[in-house]
C-alpha cells in the first residue's frame, strides 16, 4: 500500500471540544495502517496534543520555529508508536499568538514540504483568526469538531462562515475582484441581503467571472463534520442536524463523517500518559474512530439514526 500524503486540518472554533484527542487517535489509526503520519500541534495559544501522545517533554517545539527560525522538518520528534511523528506546539505561549504574515507563510510553506513525505495532521487552535483559518484552508482535507453543546455549535458556524468568506476573498483576489465581495457584504443592508446565505446566493448567481469563480470555490469547499463526546444517539444526530443547517442557512454542503462517544477513560489515559487506543483498543470509542477514519478517507457519511 502506498503511504498517504497531504495535509489534514482539524479545527472547530471552540476550545476543549476534543480536537487533540481526535487528531491523536486518527493519527494512530492511520499510522498503524502503515502510513507515515506527522501530527502538528498548531494550537499556538494552548498546545495540548503532546498529552494525548503520552509525551512528557520534547526538546524542540514550534517555539523554535517562530522564535529562532528553525526549519519545521528539524522539529520533528518520534512518538512511542512506529510511523507516528510529532511536532510539539508552542511551549511558552508569551505573545505567541502574534505570528506575523511572513512567519505564517513560511509555516504553511514548510507544512506543504512535509506533506510530500508525510500525511500531516494539523491540530488547530480555538477561534477564527486569520492564521488559523489560513492554515485550515491550506489543507487537502478540512474537518471541524463539535460537541453537542450550543456554544460549540455556534463557534463552529462562525468558523465555517469566516473560513468560506476568506476562501472566497482569496479566490476573487486571484482575479483582482475581491473588493466586490467585501463591498457587497459591507453594504448588505442597502442591498437587501439577509445573512450569509443571502450573500452567497447573490454572489454565486452573478452571471460573470465573479459568479463563476464563487461557484467553483464553494464547490471545492468540502468540510467534514465530526461530533465528539456524544452521550446518546440523539446527541450523535446533532451532526445530521448541523449538516442540514449548514446547507439551508449558509448554502454550504458538508459531510457528516462520524461521531465519537463520550468516554471518561480518555482523561484517565491523558493523566497516566497512555495512548487511549493502546489502552482501550476494543472500546466503542476505538471502533468509532476507526469508522470515522474510514469515512474521512472515502467521503462516506453517517446516515440519520432512528
Amino acid at each position: 500500500m502506498e503511504s498517504l500524503k497531504g495535509i489534514w486540518a482539524v479545527g472547530g472554533g471552540k476550545g476543549g471540544v476534543g480536537k487533540s484527542f481526535i487528531v491523536s487517535t486518527i493519527g494512530t489509526v492511520l499510522a498503524r495502517r502503515g502510513n507515515r503520519v506527522l501530527l502538528v500541534d498548531a494550537d499556538l495559544g494552548g498546545a495540548t496534543l503532546h498529552h494525548f501522545l503520552g509525551m512528557k517533554r520534547s526538546v524542540v517545539s514550534l517555539s523554535d520555529f517562530f522564535d529562532r527560525g528553525i526549519d519545521l522538518k528539524d522539529l520533528v520528534s518520534e512518538t512511542s508508536l512506529p510511523g507516528l511523528d510529532f511536532i510539539r506546539g508552542h511551549k511558552s505561549s508569551l505573545g505567541s499568538e502574534n505570528v506575523n504574515y511572513a512567519q505564517k507563510n513560511k509555516f504553511l510553506r514548510h507544512l506543504k514540504q512535509l506533506a510530500a513525505e508525510y500525511l500531516v495532521l494539523v491540530d488547530l487552535g480555538a477561534g477564527s483568526s486569520h492564521n488559523i483559518i489560513d492554515t485550515f484552508l491550506t489543507a487537502d482535507l478540512m474537518a471541524l469538531v463539535i460537541v453537542p453543546e450550543i456554544i460549540a455549535v455556534e463557534n463552529m458556524y462562525s468558523f465555517l462562515k469566516n473560513a468560506l468568506f476568506r476562501k472566497l476573498v482569496a479566490g476573487l483576489g486571484e482575479i483582482g475582484r475581491q473588493h466586490v465581495l467585501i463591498d457587497t457584504w459591507k453594504r448588505r443592508h442597502e442591498n437587501g441581503i439577509k445573512g450569509f446565505k443571502g450573500l452567497i446566493s447573490r454572489m454565486s448567481n452573478r452571471d460573470d467571472e465573479i459568479g463563476e469563480r464563487i461557484r467553483r470555490e464553494i464547490e471545492n469547499f468540502r468540510i467534514h463534520l465530526i461530533v465528539n463526546q456524544a452521550r446518546n444517539n440523539q446527541e450523535a444526530m446533532v451532526g445530521n442536524a448541523v449538516k442540514s443547517v449548514c446547507l439551508k442557512y449558509f448554502g454550504i454542503n458538508t459531510l457528516y463523517s462520524g461521531y465519537v462517544e463520550h468516554d471518561e477513560f480518555i482523561s484517565r489515559c491523558v493523566n497516566r500518559r497512555e495512548l487511549y487506543l493502546e489502552s482501550y483498543p476494543a472500546s466503542r470509542c476505538a471502533r468509532e474512530i476507526e469508522r470515522l477514519t474510514d469515512n474521512l478517507l472515502t467521503n462516506r457519511q453517517i446516515s440519520i439514526i432512528s
Binding site: P148, I150, K243, Y249, S303, I304, S306
Partner: protein
C-alpha cells in the same frame, strides 16, 4: 413510483431519490425537530440569520414533502391489490383453468414463477392443466398450490380449498375405479 418526479420532495428532506421509507421517516422526524424546536442547540445560534416566516416555510415544505412521499409509497403498496381485484372479477372457483387465467392476466411467466417458488415448471403446468395423475400425492400438491397462490398474492386458503376439492374428487374416482 416515479422517483425522479418526486425528486424535489426528496431534496427537501435532504435525501437521495433512492431513499427507503424508513430513511424518509427518520429524515422528516429529525428535520422537524431541528427547525420546529425553538430550544434546539443547532438552530438556536442562528437567531440572526433566520426570519420567522422563513422558519415556518421550511416546516411547511417538510410537511408537504413528507406527505407526498408517504402517499407515493402507500400507492405502491396498494397497487398489486388493485390490479388483482380487476383480474379476479369473473372468478368463482379456483380450479386449474382459473389459476392459469389469473396468472396470464397478471403477465406472470411460468419460468419466473418456477424460479421464485422452487417448483418445477412441469408441476406448475400440471396444476393449471389439472393433470391430477401426473401430480404428486395430496400433501405435496397441496403445498405446491399454496405456493402458487402466495406467489400471485391470492387468498391462499381459498385457492387451496377450491383446488384440492377437485384434486380429491379425482383421487376418489380413481380409487373407486380400481
Amino acid at each position: 413510483m416515479d422517483r425522479d418526479g418526486l425528486k424535489k420532495y426528496f431534496d427537501v428532506l435532504e435525501l437521495e431519490i433512492n431513499a427507503s421509507i424508513n430513511e424518509i421517516r427518520n429524515a422528516y422526524m429529525l428535520l422537524k425537530e431541528v427547525y420546529g424546536d425553538p430550544e434546539s442547540i443547532v438552530t438556536g445560534p442562528l437567531a440572526d440569520e433566520m426570519e420567522d416566516e422563513n422558519h415556518q416555510d421550511i416546516l411547511d415544505r417538510l410537511e408537504e414533502a413528507y406527505t407526498r412521499l408517504i402517499a407515493a409509497f402507500d400507492q405502491d403498496r396498494g397497487e398489486p391489490k388493485r390490479q388483482l381485484e380487476k383480474v379476479l372479477t369473473d372468478i368463482d372457483t379456483y380450479d386449474g383453468p382459473a389459476l392459469k387465467k389469473i396468472r396470464r392476466r397478471l403477465k406472470v411467466d411460468l419460468n419466473d414463477m418456477a424460479l421464485a417458488t422452487r417448483i418445477q415448471v412441469q408441476h406448475l403446468i400440471n396444476i393449471e392443466e389439472e393433470n391430477f395423475t401426473a401430480l404428486p400425492v395430496r400433501v405435496y400438491t397441496r403445498g405446491f398450490v399454496a405456493n402458487y397462490a402466495r406467489h400471485l398474492h391470492l387468498d391462499e386458503e381459498r385457492v387451496v380449498s377450491d383446488y384440492m376439492t377437485g384434486f380429491c374428487r379425482h383421487e376418489k374416482d380413481n380409487n373407486d375405479d380400481s
